[in-house]
């Protein structure tokens, strides 16, 4: 049997190595209930010094594991000591994975990584350069650029968190479908940025056609 003060933070809180912050918070609450001075369950079991020591260690464990920066450092230490295996630890970005994530979401990430590539593609694409040379841009122009780059509206929608209907309205020049000019402008900028275009340039040339 290991002494409680010799336990690592995960053993101390009785949580798994990849426990979520929520589980850690729960476990900490339960442990404090067990060890705090008014706890009936541990009444008379510890001297007050022992109790303080345990509570201090619990606090240390909790404040380390709940901290986004401290926890990976502590995990690394345990991995180096051979207590846990690399890859078994909790991943911060796992929290973005949820039940409503869909495969489109993954492709959207692929688009994000290729943004520089898209810019390069656009600058070397004659059709796109020709369109961008125009003084005014229509919805159809934007659609052409997007088609040239091989990006779907759904990908952009997933990336920039703007509904597909609004993006389609932009491409079909149905401005009345968008909430207001301000929104339209910000949707345009997001759309352009997402496919590696100059956001200001695209927005101003598109909006030129629409009176205030």
């Amino acid at each position: 049997m290991k002494k409680v003060l010799d336990l690592n933070f995960y053993e101390l809180l009785e949580v798994a190595f990849d426990a979520s912050p929520f589980a850690i918070r729960q476990a900490y609450k339960e442990m404090v209930q067990l060890y705090h001075g008014d706890s009936l369950a541990s009444y008379s079991f510890f001297s007050s010094e022992e109790r303080e020591e345990i509570l201090a260690k619990l606090d240390e464990a909790y404040s380390t594991l709940i901290d986004e920066k401290k926890r990976p450092r502590y995990d690394q230490l345990l991995i180096e000591q051979g207590i846990f295996e690399e890859g078994m630890q909790y991943q911060q970005d796992r929290k973005t994975l949820s039940l409503i994530s869909n495969p489109k979401g993954f492709r959207a990430h692929a688009v994000l990584r290729k943004k520089n590539e898209l810019t390069a593609m656009a600058s070397s694409n004659a059709v796109i350069q020709e369109i961008l040379a125009q003084d005014v841009l229509s919805g159809n122009d934007l659609k052409k650029i997007r088609d040239e780059l091989g990006v779907s509206l759904e990908m952009i929608a997933e990336m920039v968190k703007v509904r597909v209907v609004f993006l389609r309205a932009i491409e079909e020049d149905r401005f009345e479908k968008t909430p207001s000019r301000i929104f339209l402008k910000s949707f345009l900028r997001a759309y352009a940025q997402c496919i590696g275009l100059d956001a200001d340039l695209v927005a101003s040339r598109y909006l030129k056609r629409i009176p205030d």
């Binding site: 049997m1 002494k3 409680v4 209930q33 067990l34 706890s39 009936l40 369950a41 541990s42 009444y43 008379s44 079991f45 001297s47």
Partner: protein, 304 residues
């Protein structure tokens, strides 16, 4: 072979005799041949719980050799399948038995032919109580959700712990270990017997490991009795957790039994509670407890 379950608690009035009697009756009703042994040598009253006012024989008849075998002291009670070795007519100076007498009693008990043998042990941390626990390596601790009772249950469990270490190491080795442990930590024997194991593991790792395994072999259970509505129903599980984490003893929480005013009534009428109040919360909980005990013993039988 009979399953022997010593039942004890650190403090008086927690309901050890009440639980022993009623668990025994429930086991008997399920068709298990069950023997109750009143080993509370100083203050026996298990016979009253099962409705036997004046038992003619008792455990001391066996100890003083008036009865040739322990079986001769077994009494029948009004409930089929249930038997009793009473303590009512024990000599008044019997409260403390010599160690070899206890070994003799336990040895004789283990050879009796019953499905279950429940031993109602005395209060406190006298060697009488502790030795019955250590000698049988199992037992049910009873406490109530009050600081006084919990304090005493911890003291009892720690005493059992120290006594077991002492039994394994034999007297003079134990003394040298205790001296060494106390030199390192003056609370070792008073408050933290777990320190003894730590010191032993430090000095003689191999022996420490053997002792640790011996301590792990204990099959202790805990029942929290007289649970009132405002009490935390998880308290039993939390106590078990403390013991397992800090003493390394396996202890299983069997369940809660609610406080019931009617227990007093039943005891005063000298009639078994579960017969009088068949559908009370406490009776239902006692039945669940018995189900747990039967389940555990079946598991053990399969394992053997």
């Amino acid at each position: 072979m009979a399953h022997i379950w010593p039942i004890g608690g650190g403090k008086g009035g927690t309901g050890k005799s009440f639980l022993t009697g009623n668990i025994g009756i429930l086991l008997a009703k399920q068709g298990f041949k069950t023997l109750l042994v009143d080993a509370d040598l100083g203050a026996p009253n298990l016979h009253t719980i099962v409705g036997l006012a004046n038992p003619p024989l008792s455990l001391s008849d066996f100890l003083s050799k008036r009865a040739a075998t322990l079986q001769e002291t077994v009494l029948e009670v009004a409930i089929p399948n249930l038997f009793l070795i009473s303590g009512a007519r024990n000599r008044l100076d019997i409260a403390n038995l010599a160690h070899d007498q206890k070994t003799k009693v336990l040895h004789a008990i283990s050879r009796l032919d019953y499905d279950y043998i429940l031993m109602d042990l005395g209060t406190g941390t006298s060697f009488n109580t502790i030795d019955f626990f250590t000698l049988s390596d199992s037992g049910i601790f009873v406490c109530t959700p009050e600081p006084t009772s919990i304090e005493n249950i911890y003291r009892l469990i720690r005493s059992v712990y120290v006594r077991k270490i002492r039994q394994v190491l034999k007297i003079h080795r134990f003394r040298s270990l205790a001296t060494e442990a106390e030199a390192r930590n003056q609370d070792a024997i008073i408050q933290s017997p777990e320190y003894l194991l730590e010191v032993l593991k430090d000095i003689h790792p191999e022996e420490g490991r053997i002792l640790e395994d011996t301590l792990k072999a204990f099959q202790f259970k805990l029942v929290v009795n007289q649970m009132r509505r405002q009490d935390n129903p998880k308290i039993g599980a939390l106590i078990c957790k403390i013991i397992e984490r800090h003493l390394g003893l396996k202890i299983q929480f069997l369940g809660n039994v609610s406080y019931d005013e009617n227990v007093h009534e039943a005891v005063c009428r000298k009639e078994p509670f579960i017969d009088q109040y068949r559908y009370s919360q406490a009776t239902l909980e006692l039945k669940a407890l018995v189900k747990g005990i039967v389940g555990i013993t079946e598991e053990q039988t399969v394992a053997l």
